[in-house]
């Protein structure tokens, strides 16, 4: 009886976390697509008077102690002689306005969800070195990173799943060929290949071009690891009695592979997928170093995370950690989704 309650408790909490994960991801993807409307500024709008400005404080109570329904804020002014230290100028309050018209700019947005009157700026998540709004850059950056990370990881894992399953299931010379090839792929100096690729490309790459390149390269290079892991799982599944039995009863290779072996391998593959997505978002930094990433001023989470790799930024400006926080959320959500899919697969529902 008690056990049943606990089980039911676990199941409901799983439902909840599944809903949370799906909701979080949906919000992010929607945010990315709707960045033009949601972001208060363009991703390239610099405010050089506000470099590394901390997140603005939204206020409801004014100096006289009166409560306002509409939040407002004060302008932050850099203290002379103390770079990076800001003080509020209380002379004038700037209420937050909604559905404000957007000035013409690179992003092409017409109306924005919220904003404040100039000269005040609403930096909800602070600014970077150039005084660019972190929130806006996170939203626009998600366009590239959320899709490139998932697509590249998906490509790598799909290729790996195929190669690993075939190698593990068929064995023999095919196994040898595939596994030795994967070793070659793991050992190759990809850096040189990428440098060579960059050299033949034109100097200025459009963001969409870099995006596709990123996905293709990461996916094509990354299949070897998942392939080896999937093969391990397939080998172990194939040895199981029920699989041997299914084969004995005359189940075709395709049937056995699909019905008994793949579900085993999918667990490994999904785990790899959840691991690779964040890795590939980060990998974009290395690609940028080779000139293959997304060029300034277009943001991506990868280049935003690379900012953290400067000691003083990491130590002094906590709001620069936001991309890492969001990426953590993405990892957790993908993982939860992956778990769920695996369970469904094992229960034979797919």
């Amino acid at each position: 009886m008690i056990r049943g309650v606990i089980t039911r408790g676990v199941i409901t909490s799983r439902r909840v976390s599944l809903a949370l994960a799906a909701g979080f991801l949906a919000l992010l993807y929607l945010g990315a697509l709707g960045a033009g409307f949601l972001a208060p500024y363009g991703f390239d709008e610099q405010d050089r008077e506000h470099t590394y400005a901390p997140p603005v404080r939204l206020r409801f109570r004014d100096g006289g102690g009166r409560l306002h329904l509409r939040p407002f804020l004060y302008i932050g002014v850099e203290k002379p002689g103390a770079p990076g230290v800001y003080e509020e100028d209380r002379a004038r309050a700037f209420p937050v306005r909604f559905l404000v018209p957007a000035p013409p700019g690179r992003t092409g947005a017409r109306v924005r969800l919220f904003g404040v009157e100039e000269p005040a700026r609403i930096f909800l998540l602070g600014t970077d070195r150039f005084g660019r709004d972190q929130l806006s850059r996170l939203l626009y950056g998600a366009r590239i990173s959320l899709f490139s990370g998932l697509l590249a990881a998906g490509l790598a894992v799909a290729l790996g799943l195929l190669a690993g399953a075939v190698a593990g299931f068929r064995g023999g010379w095919l196994d040898q060929v595939l596994m030795r090839t994967s070793e070659l792929f793991l050992a190759l100096p990809w850096l040189y290949l990428l440098l060579a690729v960059r050299a033949v490309l034109p100097l200025d790459l459009a963001p969409s071009g870099s995006f596709l390149l990123l996905v293709a390269v990461l996916g094509a290079v990354g299949w070897a690891r998942p392939a080896r892991l999937v093969r391990g799982a397939v080998l172990s599944a194939r040895g199981r009695d029920y699989v041997l039995a299914a084969q004995g009863f005359g189940g075709s290779d395709g049937y056995v592979l699909r019905r008994h072996v793949l579900p085993q391998a999918v667990g490994v593959a999904l785990t790899q997928l959840a691991l690779l997505v964040p890795q590939y978002v980060l990998a974009e930094v290395a690609m940028s170093f080779l000139g293959l990433g997304v060029a300034e001023p277009v943001p991506s989470w990868g280049t935003m995370l690379a900012e953290l790799e400067r000691y003083d930024v990491l130590i002094s400006y906590q709001w620069m950690l936001w991309p890492a926080v969001l990426l953590t959320g993405v990892v957790l959500s993908y993982h939860t989704l992956a778990e769920h899919i695996r369970e469904r697969l094992q229960a034979g529902e797919v």
């Binding site: 676990v10 909490s13 799983r14 976390s17 064995g171 023999g172 040898q176 596994m179 030795r180 070793e183 070659l184 793991l186 050992a187 190759l188 100096p189 850096l191 040189y192 290949l193 440098l195 060579a196 050299a199 690891r225 080896r228 892991l229 093969r231 391990g232 799982a233 080998l235 172990s236 040895g239 199981r240 029920y242 085993q264 667990g267 490994v268 999904l270 785990t271 959840a274 691991l275 964040p278 890795q279 980060l282 930094v285 995370l305 953290l308 790799e309 000691y311 990491l314 130590i315 890492a324 926080v325 990426l327 953590t328 959320g329 993405v330 990892v331 957790l332 993982h335 695996r342 094992q346």
Partner: protein, 320 residues
């Protein structure tokens, strides 16, 4: 035995293939080992041209490759243009240092991640499990470079650990015990950083594999027979989950030499990392190929070990 021999034979072929491809790709990418000197106004263009001749960089690709092969055969492992010295001696000591670090980190990571993964698999959905997943998600979302910088900040602000390097200045004056302690103190930070960045991978794979094994019919049956939970986990589920983990172990061994480059650079560990990074940027090709080959040797060995272990763990595979 014949199997091992043939695998090692394949390994040699792999090394050959990797070296040929490295030369080919390097030839396609812009710049060579003297290009940086071209930019240095301290060096006249004539001197750069003379250097190119001296190192044979002006020769066609096949000639350069054969020269390199000969140099490998003689044990030099090629010639570094930057250091004007044979590559072999440059690599050995640093590779040793890297191994000390990487092996320690790998042991740390597996010692913590395997029990944590097994435990999490047994209590899926519990708060402990979620905490573990969240921790590994955080670790995945920050690069190891950021982890290394955080380690650096920690060392600098607490003063408990040295903020880099491998030995104190008075290392040579220390006795045997003192040296061991000194090494351990210097090793702690980089090893923990590396282990942390490896943790999520191992933890998640163990958790997934054990979870799956727990649901397999024979473990369910064993549970039905009333075998105690702990024994069930460690004696039945873990071995059943071992195979994919063995593959992962093979990959971990394969990455021993190449996985710590950035951590070494940040924490001034005198390993292959800084040398390799410098060599790549400076196109010091023979050093890069030398390091790639060393690392490929580990790859071949790692995968061989993994496959042998697979055989050993599961006699049924032997039939194939």
């Amino acid at each position: 035995m014949r199997y091992v021999a043939s695998r090692l034979g394949y390994g040699l072929l792999l090394l050959l293939g990797v070296s040929i491809l490295s030369f080919l790709l390097a030839d396609l990418s812009p710049g060579d080992a003297t290009a940086e000197m071209r930019l240095n106004p301290r060096i006249s263009p004539g001197a750069v041209a003379a250097l190119r001749v001296r190192y044979g960089l002006d020769r066609p690709l096949p000639v350069r490759y054969v020269r390199w092969l000969r140099s490998v055969a003689s044990g030099e492992l090629g010639w570094s243009v930057a250091f004007d010295a044979p590559v072999g001696p440059l690599l050995w000591r640093r590779a040793g240092n890297t191994l000390v670090l990487a092996v320690t980190a790998m042991i740390l990571a597996w010692i913590v991640a395997v029990p944590a993964g097994v435990w999490a698999a047994a209590r899926q959905g519990s708060w402990g499990d979620r905490l573990g997943l969240a921790a590994s998600a955080v670790l995945l979302a920050v690069s190891e470079l950021v982890l290394a910088l955080l380690g650096l900040a920690l060392a600098a602000s607490t003063g408990l650990l040295p903020a880099g390097g491998m030995a104190s200045l008075d290392y040579d004056a220390l006795g045997g015990w003192g040296r061991a302690r000194d090494l351990a103190a210097h090793l702690a930070l980089p090893a923990v950083v590396l282990a942390l960045s490896a943790f999520p991978v191992v933890h998640r794979h163990v958790r997934a594999a054990v979870a799956e094994a727990l649901e397999s019919p024979f473990v369910q049956a064993a549970r039905g027979n009333g075998i105690p939970r702990r024994r069930l986990l460690w004696r039945h589920a873990l071995p059943a989950a071992a195979k994919p983990l063995v593959s992962l172990l093979g990959l971990s061994i394969a990455g021993l030499l190449s996985g710590s480059v950035l951590v070494e650079v940040i924490l001034s560990w005198p390993g292959l990392g800084p040398l390799l990074l410098q060599a790549i940027l400076a196109r010091d090709l023979h050093v890069v190929v030398g390091a790639i080959l060393l690392s490929s040797v580990f790859l071949v060995l790692g995968n061989l070990v993994a496959d042998l272990l697979l055989y050993w763990v599961d006699p049924r595979v032997r039939g194939t």
